[in-house]
């Protein structure tokens, strides 16, 4: 009875009060349950971030896997110089940049294809049309502007976005301003 079951330990780590940073440090000391909680907290956000800038699920899966593997390998080197989430997204962003460099160009279909698939099974309501239009407009943004916008939507501050994208804070603000203006104008014109 002295040893807690794996499920009970998961519940302890699943508590929102346990910070990401503490979980990562616990994992770096050999606690696999801590990593599982961390992974379940952020896997969806990372995948969304990648998918909205990527053209294929298969590539997205590969990049997400690379990013999480890097987290596993480097957990011991992590220090509290940045929030865990910032660190995680920086890794994911770097994996994306590497992929684009390999491809030399960037596909512009991504989410639009996904929405097209949805449209087959769903009624073409105003809601889905609006979503489709929004996705289309997002994919017309320059890659750096799209990354910046998605990170802002994910809740990062200007400083954190600058850290993740390796850009200056003023550049981040400027990219965000341009992206927002472009989206607003194009959405108004389309709807």
């Amino acid at each position: 009875m002295r040893r807690r079951s794996s499920k009970n330990r998961m519940n302890l780590f699943g508590d929102k009060k346990v910070s990401d940073e503490k979980l990562l440090r616990a994992f770096a000391r050999g606690n696999a349950d801590a990593f599982e909680v961390l992974y379940r907290r952020h896997k969806q956000a990372v995948y969304h971030f990648l998918f909205r800038q990527m053209d294929k699920h298969s590539v997205c899966e590969e990049l997400a896997q690379d990013a999480w593997m890097a987290v596993i390998r480097q957990a011991g080197q992590y220090e509290n110089s940045a929030r865990f989430k910032t660190w995680l997204f920086r890794i994911a962003h770097n994996k994306l940049i590497d992929y684009w460099r390999r491809q030399k160009h960037r596909s512009k279909v991504s989410v639009v294809d996904e929405i097209d698939q949805l449209a087959v099974t769903q009624d073409r309501s105003d809601e889905s049309l609006q979503l489709k239009e929004l996705s289309k407009q997002l994919n017309e943004l320059a890659p750096e502007q799209l990354s910046t916008l998605l990170l802002k939507i994910e809740g990062f501050s200007y400083n954190e976005i600058a850290d993740i994208t390796e850009a200056k804070k003023e550049t981040v603000k400027s990219r965000l301003r341009y992206a927002t203006k472009h989206l607003r104008l194009s959405m108004e014109a389309a709807l």
Binding site: Y39, K43, C60, E61, Q65, W87, R90, R177
Partner: protein, 219 residues
């Protein structure tokens, strides 16, 4: 962009049920994390003599590698022209009177040998690739330790940048993506201008190897 805009965009984009990763990815990542955790636990339980043996083996491998580097370095150094050594011997054969001070000085004048053409040329692409593949990356912590300690914020930022960049560079080199690895290093260089990093990835690897060599050799 205000909070309302952000909430609107977030709600719209999150409303896409097919955007989620596969269970296979979950399985892969979680299995890898359990393996890693098990390795960490095992290594923390390892007996001291096992660690000592491991360090000794790594140390021996480093010494052998560095020694071979020294031999290679010496092998490509240009030799001094033979004439410089032969002249004094030949002049002694024909001496019929005491030598003048000028002739003595001229015998001891050492002409600096011309460097061979090979050492002057910049390394070829093939040589640069070999350097990346053969010389291991330095531990970023060693480089971080060399940073200017007066700028705490920059050092902290550099620590994170270097750890990430070096991990990526290592992975890229192992995948054979040497140009992307170089590009990643150049990014790090532009982000961390006060870090005193060498101007290219190859230069960093060579410099690190020579520093290790200097530390490893006695005296």
């Amino acid at each position: 962009m205000n909070d309302q805009d952000i909430l609107f965009l977030k709600s719209k984009l999150d409303d896409c049920p097919t955007v989620k990763n596969s269970e296979q990815l979950d399985h892969l990542v979680l299995t890898a994390s359990r393996d890693q955790a098990e390795q960490i636990r095992q290594s923390s339980r390892a007996k001291p003599w096992v660690l000592i043996n491991r360090f000794a083996a790594v140390g021996l491998a480093v010494v052998i590698t560095l020694s071979s580097l020294v031999v290679m370095k010496l092998a490509v150094q240009p030799e001094e022209p033979l004439t410089a050594a032969q002249e004094p011997v030949q002049s002694l054969r024909y001496v019929s009177k005491p030598p003048s001070i000028d002739s003595i000085l001229s015998q001891y004048r050492i002409e600096k040998p011309e460097r061979s053409v090979a050492t002057k040329l910049p390394p070829t692409q093939l040589e640069r690739d070999i350097i990346l593949k053969e010389l291991g990356l330095p531990d970023p912590r060693v480089l971080i330790a060399q940073l200017n300690s007066g700028q705490a914020d920059q050092v902290r930022q550099a620590e994170a940048d270097m750890a990430l960049a070096f991990n990526d560079i290592e992975a890229l080199i192992s995948e054979g993506e040497l140009d992307i690895a170089r590009s990643r290093y150049n990014n790090l260089l532009s982000q961390c201008q006060g870090c005193g990093l060498p101007s290219s990835l190859e230069a960093l690897l060579i410099e690190t190897s020579l520093q290790s060599l200097a530390r490893a050799l006695p005296g």
